[in-house]
Symmetry: C2
Subunit: 338 residues, 2 copies
């Protein structure tokens, strides 16, 4: 009689509970819920019936412990209010789920040092991989992850860390195209709007842009602000347009800043885009397509990145560091003369 009772209140049923109710062994229960294990149809049916009755669900934590394999994947994010990050997270979690992976999300916030603590946590949870979308984990922490068989995947971070898998963008090609776009548009006074504290990825955009511009004998004005957001974009445009040498072409290091630039140029300074001023962004966030912006920009290959992340998980963990380079293609809209 006691055996027929559901388990103690508030505690989930265990395989033992199910076994007892079904009149079989623990092993039989386990096999019923293991793909490809050998159980007779009869046993299976009994187990399934009992499991249903007790609302039994395999405890994946215990399974992971037993099988010595952990499925969770940790994702380091921040600035989810930046649509680029939100979009990336959206795609990656979706793909991860299709691949039957569970995502643990760690918000590293604004604190750059937080990435280190976050990585520490991923170790505690025996994540099989950490996907870094934000923050810059220190090299020694990365080493430690790799040593215990966890793979670290850096997306668009372009750091030069060893033992890490990089998924990044071919900024050289993109920036060559960007410069061509400005040149063809006939812009002569070009400004680059960026950020004081540059991530490796932003730095790469900057450097290649400047390099190719100089090859055209154009020296860009450099404007650098605090955060890569809308407000900074507005401030940049204000300062540039009241400056001695107002630009007729502005490359914003990301779309969020470009949106701020556009609003300020159009509404505060009554500039016509693209006639008086060409603006180019980077990321292709949803707002870039809004008719209030209609921003010409480069599209982050979100879907390809997400697919690459999942593929990377399937690679052997002791694989030497790899580097996958994807293309960001120009998206022609209305802020650039063509």
């Amino acid at each position: 009689m006691k055996g027929r009772l559901p388990p103690a209140n508030g505690m989930p049923a265990s395989a033992s509970d199910v076994a007892r109710l079904a009149g079989v062994s623990r092993s039989a229960v386990s096999r019923t819920f293991t793909d490809g294990a050998s159980v007779s149809a009869d046993t299976r049916a009994k187990v399934l019936r009992a499991a249903e009755e007790l609302h039994y669900h395999v405890n994946f934590l215990a399974r992971g412990l037993s099988k010595q394999e952990s499925r969770p994947v940790c994702i380091l994010v921040s600035n989810l209010h930046n649509p680029y990050h939100a979009q990336l997270l959206n795609q990656i979690t979706t793909e991860l789920q299709k691949a039957q992976r569970i995502s643990i999300i760690i918000n590293v916030g604004d604190d750059p040092a937080a990435a280190s603590g976050a990585l520490e946590q991923t170790l505690n949870y025996r994540a099989s991989a950490t996907i870094v979308l934000s923050g810059s984990p220190p090299a020694h922490m990365v080493r430690r992850c790799v040593e215990v068989g966890q793979s670290v995947i850096l997306v668009n971070r372009a750091d030069d860390l060893p033992d890490v898998r990089h998924i990044s963008i071919d900024y050289e090609t993109a920036m060559r195209t960007a410069v061509q776009m400005f040149v063809r548009a006939g812009c002569r006074t070009i400004a680059l709007v960026s950020r004081a504290v540059r991530t490796p990825s932003l730095l790469a955009r900057e450097e290649f842009f400047i390099k190719f511009l100089r090859e055209q004998n154009i020296e860009p004005q450099l404007w650098r602000g605090g955060a890569t957001n809308y407000e900074t974009g507005q401030r940049a445009m204000r300062e540039l347009l009241v400056g001695l040498n107002p630009p007729d072409g502005v490359f914003c290091i990301n779309d969020l800043m470009a949106c701020g630039c556009i609003d300020t140029a159009r509404h505060e300074f009554k500039r016509r885009l693209p006639e008086d001023l060409c603006i180019l962004g980077f990321d292709d966030i949803p707002q870039a397509a809004w008719s209030g912006y209609d921003l010409t920009t480069f599209a982050q290959p979100f879907a390809e990145i997400a697919a690459a992340v999942v593929q990377s998980l399937a690679l052997p963990p002791d694989l030497e560091s790899s580097r996958l380079v994807l293309n960001a293609r120009p998206v022609w809209r209305g802020t650039m003369r063509s």
Copy 2:
């Protein structure tokens, strides 16, 4: 000698490994990493040294299994490209982390049925709570969660599920205010832009808005589209403005639609806002504050919601269903005459 070797390649060190190297028992290692456990300073030091050498990290999965308590919290999300969702997730994960909780994120995508499968998963991972930001889990699944001691927290879903903790908005008060705003602005022909498939939360906004408007003897035009996004907002505004009875006031069920409405009204139809047309949104997404929109709207109390979620986790799991109602306050900007 063998005892001094690090554990087998590619496997994280276990407490046994550390114990062996430090020359103490497993228990001592465990105590060293348990707050408030009694270990002598000497033992502690030996353990710590060995742990450092082996890069030992407590396996939280095993700890959770042993302590019969699971820490992870599952968050059901979708549509992360909607800034409202992104913002909510951002705040909640941040607060959860401060409270030392780990967040598992489940992207339920567009499929409403996905919420059921997602909840099933949260059971497998023995989450202590599921926070539903998207999707509508079926009542029987919720019951099952509650039975095994998992609490289910619905944020802004306003469903009438039993055994669930609700955190929602006082839409009645907000909509009363909304109607007052339109009335004071002198609007007489008012449209409501919403969605065909309404979530309970959208429905509540609609119903109260219509109710209070009728109390003012104003019968709103109802426009309903497919998705609550920018493009739908544009379409709504086009159809309304070419209609027989173009409105001089539009309440958009969310900011994303309002942004679409604004761009179309201003640029395609050359309406001056707020002189010719007043527009009101809901959510206060970052874009609402952008000067290109300057949208008068209601602010979701993101911070309060996040705090409430964390507080709710601390409540006893067998607590009867609770309902916390927060206020969304109007944010006055430029799309509404005052």
